[in-house]
Symmetry: C2
Subunit: 335 residues, 2 copies
Amino acid sequence: MKIGLFGGAMQKRGETADSKGYDDFVNYVIAADRLGFESVFIVEHHFSGIGQVSASMCMLSYLAGRTTNIRLGTAVMVLPWHNPILLAEQAATVDMVSGGRFDFGIGKGYRDIEFKGFCIPKEEAQARYEETVALMKKAWTAEERFDYHSDNWNFEDILVEPAPIQRPHPPLWTAAGSPDSIIKVAHDGYNLLLDQFGGLELTEARMTNFQNACKDAGRAYDAMEVGLSRTIIVTDSEEETERVFAERAERQKNINQFGKLPGLPDKPVSYDDSSNARDDAYLIGQPKEVIAGLRRLESMGVGYILMTTIGDETLLERVATEILPEFEVAKNAAE
Amino acid sequence: MKIGLFGGAMQKRGETADSKGYDDFVNYVIAADRLGFESVFIVEHHFSGIGQVSASMCMLSYLAGRTTNIRLGTAVMVLPWHNPILLAEQAATVDMVSGGRFDFGIGKGYRDIEFKGFCIPKEEAQARYEETVALMKKAWTAEERFDYHSDNWNFEDILVEPAPIQRPHPPLWTAAGSPDSIIKVAHDGYNLLLDQFGGLELTEARMTNFQNACKDAGRAYDAMEVGLSRTIIVTDSEEETERVFAERAERQKNINQFGKLPGLPDKPVSYDDSSNARDDAYLIGQPKEVIAGLRRLESMGVGYILMTTIGDETLLERVATEILPEFEVAKNAAE
């Protein structure tokens, strides 16, 4: 079991005079690099008004300069907003400056405020997404100049530089939630990002679906090709666990403020106030409980968790020292 | 007199399996940071086939992570290739991660291969450039959501984040060569980039022109607002000087391979093979000669040189130890 991070800096416009939000995030990633976390995946969002990272490729390039081993990913870059050739150049550059540590998470977008902001009709998202992926792949691999013409983009006599270090291109990751879209990811040869809101039952169904689809596609299943986002919080007592669960449930009421993530049930489990059951999408508890939760995920074929609880260095240290070693030992014993 | 660097990494597609070209450049910039050079300005070019930097904002973000004091600039980003809002976000991000070290050099483009590549008519360059500058300024400073509609770009209900650290925005630099365009730079309130090819006479005319235009515009002339690109090479003997001049003259025959830089005479001095005179655009010679050349430029009001001889760390050390201290002493004595 490997653990990476998923999230992003926040720097609300006008909120502070300096760049504290980003600084905190950068220091957090540097600590994660030192502590042996596998990766950090950062979001791309625009016009949010809450200061989410917008120029994600710049942010990753900067992190490449501040870190040594941690892989650097996007989760996800929203392709319809970007000139495919400029984006291919940026991706190759992040890959190059990071020494081949780039994981390229891509998506078609879901927030209404962004479609409106860029004046791109949501109905065009899928087609623009597919067009951009195809064109970027061509840009990364074509060794001769080429032309490209479509309704959206026109290029003539181009050769795209630099080439990425990871050949033929950095791993492509994409978020999927619905059964059909998960099957498509397997067949397209991408790696899969699963959200942090799906509970255990849903996660198991998704994992099984992806593994079967890989089989159908003649693709060997590699557990490091599925990143499952999870909220991990290590507590010291049952009382603390109780309190943290209550806080999370309160917070989660706002998760759809920018639009619903695809593939989730309309009402995630934790929304059901009539139920006293704890939302099993959360890995919240004392170390033994968190480890047990991870073992349960492991039994479904999950081998790669992306921790969404960004920003708390103490938590990071605890996960590194109290959780991760359990899995290192198991791994070493198995070898 | 301050000295910065002007240039950019090169990584020709397929030339080497690794990223050596970029690595060398990065190490060079790190050395320059350590040695007290003022800045590094990097180019943006596309489709060159010789591996020039394309994703310049990513490259600068990475350098921000590897350096401490050196200012990080573009010379120049070509605005017509970019979505103005994405570029404003990138510029603000570079400014933020560098702690306010970003110098934003902007231009309208001049290479035919790039206009062709992006399928943008050269006739539209000036209008697109001006539109982009105006829109970026709005993006950096608007604290309320706004709409924007034109033939080229449409945005609705947007608020652009992050805000740059340097307020209202990072210094804008632009290259100019012709008398009219230099006057426009002064009136627009931008800083001026002068090319490395103009000889002493042309440089003096340009400096006088800019200083007069600043006066006309009611703008105080600040020598740090004009960056004059120069080839600086420190030699150990007259024979070496002779040899280096010959090599440079040979190389310079290819400078216009991608299109003529604006504002230069059709045949720069060094192109005139009938003349035995050394091209006085070059600061090539033994330390005393280079210092004398710089003093002569200083007498024209030049206070900021951008050294174009990128990549030679030995040269960098020599300039830092044998040239720069001369001007530090003078400065300290004057205070």
